[in-house]
């Protein structure tokens, strides 16, 4: 910047200009454009998935998810910070940034099931299942829950054969599952009544404004992602940058989403931290571009400015 000899803008000859008029015309243009686009294209409003909807549309998946929460094998159960200490979390190079954030939104995955079902009264099967669960050792609980999720198994998909009962709870063979089937069935029954969201978000608090637990439970299942993929919102479909239907979502996030589609990020266990790190670096480069030799000279090398100021340069040439 030391050789910056840009003259003072205030010393140039001037011409008449009406800034307020320009602002008002621009405002009218934007109002007309926004109103017109809103009237023609509207905005998407796909109803939120309810636990009741999930329970009715895919009860087997909800039961499997409940059993997996009890087994401690779901995404949230093995997440690490900010929910628990069950994993190291992602790292940016050697820096365990996720862990450094700390567990400030504590979530015990088993409580996503036990919390709501323990509020169910007048149900002897659930009461005795809860008593049996509480009396068991952590090892025994994990053994029961893992055996049950293995027994439910998964349906055949992507060339992989079906496992267990092929994901169909009704076809699970008898086994030593302890209270897990009763607890999972209890959660399913509660979900069907429409009371699961309330039990997760506002239990003990009249004003429930935090949906962390219900969203974690929903995201641990396959139903939410299945619906998203059907709407072309999957992670490998440029994910949350899009909106449902044909509406534009957040196209300005294209570069952030782009990195997830390419190696090494698409196959990295630390993809999120690495993509964030890269985007922070690129943002800093853009911010401090005026001070970076080479980058700041690109506009001189590729003279697009000749188009912008063509009248000025023509006039200077003439004189």
């Amino acid at each position: 910047m030391s050789r910056d000899r840009t003259p003072d803008a205030h010393d140039f000859p001037t011409r008449r200009y009406d800034l307020v008029k320009e602002f008002v015309i621009a405002l009218v243009v934007v109002l007309v454009l926004s109103g017109g686009l809103a009237a023609i294209f509207s905005s998407p409003d796909e109803k939120a998935i309810t636990m009741s909807g999930w329970a009715k549309a895919d009860p087997d998946n909800l039961v499997t998810t409940a059993a997996s929460e009890l087994a401690g094998t779901t995404t949230s159960a093995t997440y690490g910070a900010p929910y628990n200490t069950n994993a190291e979390g992602q790292k940016l190079g050697p820096l365990p940034l996720q862990k450094w954030g700390g567990v400030r939104v504590p979530v015990n995955s088993a409580d996503l099931v036990l919390g709501p079902v323990s509020n169910v009264s007048d149900n002897p099967a659930i009461s005795s299942a809860l008593t049996e669960w509480k009396a068991a050792t952590p090892e025994q609980r994990a053994k029961w829950a893992t055996a049950y999720t293995d027994a439910i198994g998964t349906a055949a998909a992507d060339g992989e054969p079906a496992t267990g009962a092929g994901g169909e709870v009704a076809k699970v063979k008898p086994g030593d599952y302890g209270p897990v089937p009763a607890l999972s069935a209890g959660l399913l029954a509660l979900a069907k009544t429409g009371g699961l969201e309330g039990a997760l978000t506002s239990s003990g608090n009249f004003y429930g404004g935090d949906q962390t637990k219900s969203l974690l439970l929903l995201a641990d299942g396959a139903y939410l992602e299945d619906q998203a993929v059907a709407q072309n919102l999957g992670g490998d479909q440029w994910g949350m940058m899009n909106e449902v239907g044909n509406a534009p979502g957040q196209p300005w996030m294209w570069l952030y989403t782009f990195w997830y589609q390419v190696k090494p990020f698409s196959t990295s266990d630390n993809a999120d931290a690495e993509v964030w790190g890269l985007m922070m670096l690129l943002t800093l480069l853009l911010m401090f571009l005026p001070f970076i030799p080479g980058l700041r000279s690109i506009p001189r090398w590729i003279p697009v400015h000749r188009l912008v100021w063509r009248n000025y340069y023509r006039r200077v040439q003439r004189t």
């Binding site: 140039f12 009237a39 940034l97 100021w309």
Partner: protein, 215 residues
């Protein structure tokens, strides 16, 4: 006012230790006299690219105004009211226009090397404004209380959590996200916009590359 009173008040106004005088002096010195809202522009300001700055600004006005109308009805209003849905659509499309105009404005300023002549801070505030605007729109998408918000929250949490920020900025908590969306981040956007505009008016529109005053 008598002559003596007038002399006294002039003396007080000139007191450099007076905090009010000092603040007034700083405010008055932010922009050269007559340049806050000038009725002239340098002769080289003659291109459609200059329009995108004011289009971005006016889009922001429509974004904020439509957001204020949505606030009147509350979080769920737009789900149940056709008027609310229309206002939400205006909000969405004005945001899309805002970003579209802003990106063209940013690229225009890049090709004009608009950071020249002590304008680096103007460029930096613009880039930060772009980043804070992305955060503001992101929290807006999280505050929709519909399927999109559920999915964006479920997907977006991993990125935020991976850098440790999720411990303080919980994208699965719509109450927190809504407050960031309607208070904290718009405040940031507003202040940065004000700073950006003051800097533009302070230094004037950047002259053409290799320009001299004979132009």
């Amino acid at each position: 006012m008598t002559t003596r009173e007038s002399e006294l008040s002039t003396k007080e106004a000139a007191d450099p230790k007076n905090w009010t005088n000092r603040l007034r002096g700083r405010l008055e010195g932010l922009v050269p006299k007559g340049q806050a809202l000038p009725d002239t522009q340098p002769v080289y300001v003659a291109s459609w690219i200059y329009v995108f700055g004011v289009l971005t600004l006016t889009s922001l006005v429509v974004v904020i105004a439509s957001g204020c109308v949505l606030s009147l009805g509350g979080v769920a209003w737009w789900h149940v009211s056709s008027l609310g849905h229309f206002v939400n659509s205006v909000h969405l499309w004005s945001v899309e226009l805002f970003f579209g105009f802003m990106v063209v404005h940013l690229w225009g300023k890049f090709w004009m090397a608009a950071w020249r002549g002590k304008r680096a801070l103007t460029w930096i505030t613009g880039v930060v404004l772009f980043g804070v605007s992305i955060g503001t729109s992101f929290t807006g998408f999280l505050s929709q209380s519909n399927f999109s918000a559920q999915w964006i929250g479920a997907e977006g949490k991993d990125g935020i959590n991976s850098i440790g920020a999720g411990a303080f900025f919980n994208v699965l908590n719509p109450g927190q996200m809504l407050l960031w969306h309607v208070v904290l981040l718009p405040l940031g956007v507003g202040l940065l916009t004000l700073m950006h505009i003051i800097l533009v008016r302070r230094h004037g529109v950047v002259p053409p590359l290799d320009a001299d005053l004979e132009g």
